[in-house]
């Protein structure tokens, strides 16, 4: 690091402090989840996995986890299929209209979900989609599209459009070009988009609060009720399981990117 410019001590202290502020509070749920007490606290006499047992044998928690997983998978498929097709077509056409549509596609990232949620609450009653699996899948799928559009567009940015023109020029049909020329190149972008669309649905609470009530009771909804009603260590165990899953998915994303770079 000869002659290189490093941060001064104020920046050093402030940045390390901020990093700790970001990470430590999340880590605290790990010891709390292994407490030997029956209330939310640090372990007193020893570590216990009893609260994980409570969660993993409770039909309510398991039911919600299963339902959330199904909804997130279905919403991801919906977002990936439509979002990828859109991103590829918008990239290929590169028309004024497609650029406008692209901005429209990003709306769900900007408009607060509370606004969309109250809109859906009325709208879905009319479509008879309230408290239905399909209703939540549609809501999560539509709002997941921007994540896919962004990651796929990013992976297309490095792609030479002449390859596609060459393939077309040599007589390949649209579907052949898509399958053999474009898709293999943008696969990492699609996988990233899918991961983010999945996490988006898996964590989504605000819409679910409005458009689902009894039959559809996702994991975030159950956690929400738990935080508002009974704060017990089982909640911490759920939190740890969720953090673990998120980190796993992010590592998967890193692996996919590494492989595509190398």
């Amino acid at each position: 690091m000869n002659g290189a410019y490093g941060p001064g001590w104020i920046a050093r202290i402030l940045s390390i402090g901020t990093a700790l502020y970001l990470v430590l509070p999340i880590l605290i749920v790990l010891p709390v989840s292994m407490t030997d007490q029956r209330f939310l606290s640090l372990p007193h006499y020893g570590l216990s996995l009893a609260h994980y047992g409570t969660v993993l044998t409770s039909p309510e928690w398991l039911g919600s986890i299963w339902q959330s997983a199904q909804i997130a998978l279905a919403a991801t498929v919906l977002a990936v299929l439509t979002g990828t097709a859109f991103a590829v077509a918008a990239w290929r056409l590169d028309h004024r209209l497609t650029r406008l549509l692209m901005a429209l596609m990003l709306l769900p990232l900007i408009v607060p979900s509370i606004v969309y949620a109250i809109g859906l609450y009325r709208y879905f009653r009319w479509w008879d989609l309230l408290d239905r699996f399909a209703g939540v899948v549609i809501a999560h799928g539509v709002t997941g599209i921007p994540y896919v559009v962004i990651t796929v567009s990013a992976s297309l940015a490095a792609f030479d459009p002449r390859l596609e023109q060459a393939a077309r020029g040599m007589g390949a049909s649209l579907s052949q070009v898509l399958r053999w020329v474009i898709l293999p190149r943008i696969m990492p972008g699609i996988v990233s988009g899918a991961i983010f669309a999945f996490i988006h649905s898996w964590d989504e609470l605000v819409m679910v609060l409005f458009i689902a009530s009894r039959d559809v009771f996702t994991l975030p909804r159950r956690i929400w009720d738990g935080i508002n009603e009974n704060l017990d260590p089982a909640m911490a165990a759920v939190a740890v399981l969720l953090v673990g899953l998120t980190i796993l998915l992010l590592l998967l994303d890193i692996v996919v990117r590494k492989r595509s770079d190398g």
Binding site: Y5, G8, M105, I110, I114, R122, I138, V142, F196, A236
Partner: protein, 279 residues
């Protein structure tokens, strides 16, 4: 030409149809209700000037958003600065500290803060056991708790755009300025800060508009006593069944966000922001 491209235009359709029917339409409906319920006209909007509850929600939201944005910018700037100047290996660790919180469930994070900050929480317990305080401090279920949780949520969103613009600064400029005799503070003030300004503004806009409509964290850490706009809207719709007022506030929220974005659209490239967020 159009004929040849027809297949591509068809590929745009599914996403476009889905968005129009199941996203744009319900939101336009919210807009429409705000002008028609309980009676046609702008009666709901007149409440902004007359209704105390509306005004209190707006003021609380604005105050919390401004404070949150300011703190998140300072902390995020320090973090982005350290990441920019770090070595290749150090950078990976720093980024990990920023990206993991970004993707961890907002509910889990709010829950962790409740565990730490409530009356019998870990912070109060530790402070009492070490004899620093005698009575537990009110750290949560008030504005303080909301801000702690919101800043925690927003710092990663502040870091990413600032990082993108700081990485374009040539590090040799800084070394050169030092070599020419500038003090550390001067280098920062005259060289680094001006060059990173676009990123700082972009981060400020992003954090501010995200804070405006934030629901989950303020609802949990505010404990129902400090109402921000999003929770206020939900209260109107779910508990008080006052659709006119609720949708009016929702419309106001969307309009303020879109106006803020339009004003700053020159410095904020949303696609790039979120693109780097996913990376």
């Amino acid at each position: 030409m159009w004929r040849r491209d027809a297949g591509w235009w068809v590929l745009l359709l599914p996403a476009f149809a889905l968005l129009t029917v199941f996203y744009i339409a319900p939101i336009l409906q919210v807009l429409a209700i705000s002008f028609t319920d309980p009676e046609p006209g702008i009666g709901n909007y007149e409440r902004i000037l007359t209704n105390l509850s509306v005004q209190r929600a707006l003021l609380t939201t604005l105050r919390i958003c401004v404070i949150t944005t300011a703190i998140a910018l300072v902390l995020g700037y320090a973090l982005a600065y350290a990441i920019t100047l770090a070595s290749e290996r150090g950078r990976r660790w720093w980024l990990f500290c920023v990206l993991v919180p970004l993707w961890i469930s907002v509910l889990v994070r709010a829950f962790a803060w409740v565990t730490l900050l409530r009356r019998q929480g870990l912070v109060n317990q530790t402070l009492i056991e070490t004899g620093i305080i005698a009575e537990p401090l009110p750290l949560v279920w008030n504005e303080f708790g909301i801000i702690v949780g919101m800043v925690h949520f927003m710092v990663p969103y502040a870091v990413l755009p600032m990082l993108a613009s700081m990485r374009e600064i040539d590090p040799r400029l800084l070394a050169a300025a030092r070599g020419l005799g500038a003090s550390r503070l001067t280098v920062f003030r005259r060289v680094f800060l001006p060059l990173s300004l676009p990123g700082l503004i972009a981060a400020g806009v992003l954090v501010f508009i995200f804070s405006l409509g934030f629901y989950v964290t303020p609802a949990i850490l505010g404990g129902g006593k400090t109402l921000m706009v999003a929770e206020w809207i939900s209260l109107q719709i779910l508990d008080l069944i006052r659709w006119g007022l609720g949708t009016m506030m929702a419309t106001l929220l969307v309009v303020s966000i879109l106006v803020t974005l339009a004003v700053f659209s020159r410095v904020v490239d949303l696609r790039r922001l979120f693109g780097s967020g996913a990376r």
